[in-house]
């Protein structure tokens, strides 16, 4: 389309170049800082990590191209399988936070005096740092004076050094992680329960639906958005587990409580030397596992967007 080169007879209505094009340019102007930062610190590093995983590199000197060697080495690495196995245990057991959170939410979904304070105090564990949660639980498990072993003592059970025992250590750490995670799921469900349609509940009551049946057929379907978010944050939380392991056991005893996130960190920057390439290869594996969930999440979002 060519604009007629006629002299404009209404000078006040004349639009500057910016005024004519602003609707097209404005979004990019608003997006520029965000895209720039996100590219620099998140998107490009992902590709760089994938690239580094094909090199042997100590982080300082020259990197040598080794092709798929790091990945081949991973396949024979006992510690890698231990970490992978622990990641699976984390993923599975962490899911307990969802029914756990629902249970607590149902317990607290009342209107008695002071219930608001109770709700916020139950949520407490999520607000404090995982470093503090880790210290608290390391202490709770202590074989000499930890509360858990004192309680076990009442039943005549010998003290168990949970964090020094290869078989129990991962479960002990997961239990610590479930504490804040359950609190998170509880809040999601409490908000969800608030939005449940009271008329449907009344209708179901007239049909004599009660207790578990009511929960399963009437309430849970309405809580689906809350459940979805709970699953997303719990999966991400399980795969991101690092802080608690670092604080409570440092991966021990003998590396038995490592997960991929922790093992990667250990390989990349530890006293065993800086193996950036090998660490990056572990990170890529973890990334691919996470990608399954991310893709699922994006797919659901895409469907919702189309549905609008």
């Amino acid at each position: 389309m060519t604009a007629p080169a006629l002299p404009d007879t209404h000078p006040p209505a004349q639009k500057t170049w910016w005024q004519q094009n602003q609707q097209r340019l404005a979004p990019w102007l608003f997006l520029a800082p965000g895209i720039f930062m996100f590219m620099m610190y998140v998107i490009i590093p992902i590709f760089q990590s994938v690239n580094i995983s094909f090199y042997e590199w100590d982080g300082l000197g020259e990197a040598t191209w080794v092709g798929a060697d790091n990945y081949i080495e991973l396949m024979d690495d006992e510690a890698f399988y231990t970490s992978l196995k622990n990641n699976v245990i984390w993923l599975v057991l962490y899911m307990l936070a969802i029914p756990g959170g629902l249970l607590v939410a149902l317990f607290l979904n009342q209107t008695v005096r002071g219930i608001r304070i109770y709700k916020s105090l139950f949520f407490f564990p999520f607000v404090i740092s995982q470093v503090v949660v880790g210290l608290v639980f390391a202490w709770f498990y202590d074989p000499n004076f930890g509360l858990m072993n004192i309680a076990l003592g009442w039943f005549g059970i010998e003290p168990i050094a949970v964090l020094a025992n290869e078989d129990y250590v991962t479960y002990g750490i997961i239990a610590a992680g479930l504490w804040p995670q359950t609190a998170y799921c509880m809040i999601l469900y409490l908000t969800g329960l608030n939005a449940v349609d009271p008329e449907q509940i009344e209708a179901a009551r007239l049909d004599n639906a009660k207790g578990v049946k009511m929960l399963w057929y009437v309430i849970l379907p309405q809580l689906r958005p809350a459940t979805f978010i709970a699953v997303v944050v719990t999966v991400i939380g399980a795969l991101r587990s690092f802080d608690l392991i670092s604080i409570m056991t440092d991966g021990g005893p003998w590396g038995s409580s490592r997960v991929l996130a922790f093992y990667m960190y250990e390989q990349a920057f530890s006293e065993y030397g800086f193996r950036m390439g090998y660490g990056a290869a572990i990170a890529v594996v973890l990334f691919l596992i996470m990608m399954i969930y991310i893709t699922g999440f994006l797919y659901k979002m895409y469907r919702d967007e189309r549905g609008r």
Binding site: Q19, Q22, Q23, P27, F30, L31, G34, M37, F38, Y41, V42, I43, P45, Q48, S49, G59, F107, N109, Q110, T111, V112, Y118, S120, L121, F124, P125, I128, S129, Q130, V131, V132, L135, V136, W139, L147, I187, L188, T191, L193, I201, L215, P225, A226, I229, F242, D243, S246, A261, Y265, F269, A280, A283, L286, F287, M290, Y293, I294, L298, M301, Y302
Partner: protein, 282 residues
């Protein structure tokens, strides 16, 4: 309401509920109560193994003064604020703009860009670790609060964009159209029409990001070292190593570290919860 409101049940059930409530709370918070109690014990109690009995003396002031005098905990806390506050401001500012752009304008690649922010927000930290550390070293920002804050701003932009975009999308679009008809420029629409409506979203995001960043431990260990620059989470970890057996001090330190986000939560509870549900559950 589900479950059945307790007022409509038998008086026996009502009494049982009123007893169960505080009991459940104490059990739930037992580990934390133990820490709070230990933080006021004397060193004598700790060596005597009196962890659970009544404290022989209450050393609240002594212990909390001791950690500030004998350790750099004050410095750690200051560092945490230096990282957290700029991150909150930066991430929220950036995402107001990205959220606005993605919610209001229709252009090619809109959804793709939005998904990039969302996906990036869920990525495991380890895939970013080595390149981000290198980038920070190259920029000469390794072991500085601003190096750490800059990374946090960029990473949190993902989550914040998701939140802001959905929030702005739910605002009445007619407002923007009306402003355009009036001939108001896009930038002024952003500032004078949309921003005033975003106050609840700003509050929600600010408290959430504050808590997330305050509690960050992983990036603090990757991008900083030493008491001069490390925030409280990393600081607490190293103090824990130095204070073996000084449990009354470790627990006092833990309480101090936990206090700012806890206060934040209590002051801005409703906003905090709105943020946590990702705006998806209303």
């Amino acid at each position: 309401m589900f479950p059945t409101p307790i007022e409509k049940t038998s008086s026996g059930a009502q009494i049982a509920y009123k007893i169960a409530l505080p009991v459940a709370l104490i059990v739930w918070l037992l580990p934390l109560i133990a820490v709070a109690l230990t933080s006021v014990r004397s060193a004598g109690d700790i060596t005597a193994g009196n962890y659970w009995g009544w404290p022989t003396s209450f050393n609240l002031i002594e212990n909390y003064t001791a950690i500030f005098e004998q350790t750099p905990i004050g410095k750690y806390i200051l560092n945490s604020f230096k990282v957290t506050i700029p991150t909150v401001i930066g991430a929220v500012a950036i995402s107001c703009m990205t959220g606005f752009a993605l919610a209001v304008y229709k252009f090619k690649g809109n959804l793709l860009l939005f998904f990039m922010f969302v996906a990036g927000n869920f990525v495991p930290f380890q895939i970013l670790m080595v390149p981000v550390r290198d980038l920070t070293l190259d920029l000469g920002m390794y072991n500085t609060w601003y190096g750490l804050a800059l990374f946090h701003i960029a990473f949190q932009a993902g989550f914040c964009t998701l939140f802001m975009r959905n929030f702005i999308k739910a605002l009445p679009y007619e407002l923007i159209e009306a402003a355009r008809v009036e001939g108001i420029s896009e930038i002024r629409i952003f500032w004078y029409v949309v921003m005033p409506l975003m106050k609840p979203a700003l509050a929600a995001l600010s408290v959430l990001i504050f808590t997330f960043i305050w509690n960050d431990y992983f990036w603090a260990t990757v991008l900083t070292q030493g008491a001069d620059q490390q925030p409280i989470t990393a600081g607490l970890y190293s103090l824990n190593g130095q204070w073996v057996a000084a449990w009354h001090l470790v627990s006092a330190g833990s309480i101090v570290a936990a206090l700012p986000p806890v206060l934040m939560f209590f002051l801005m509870q409703r906003h905090f919860i709105a943020g946590l549900t990702l705006g998806a559950v209303k």
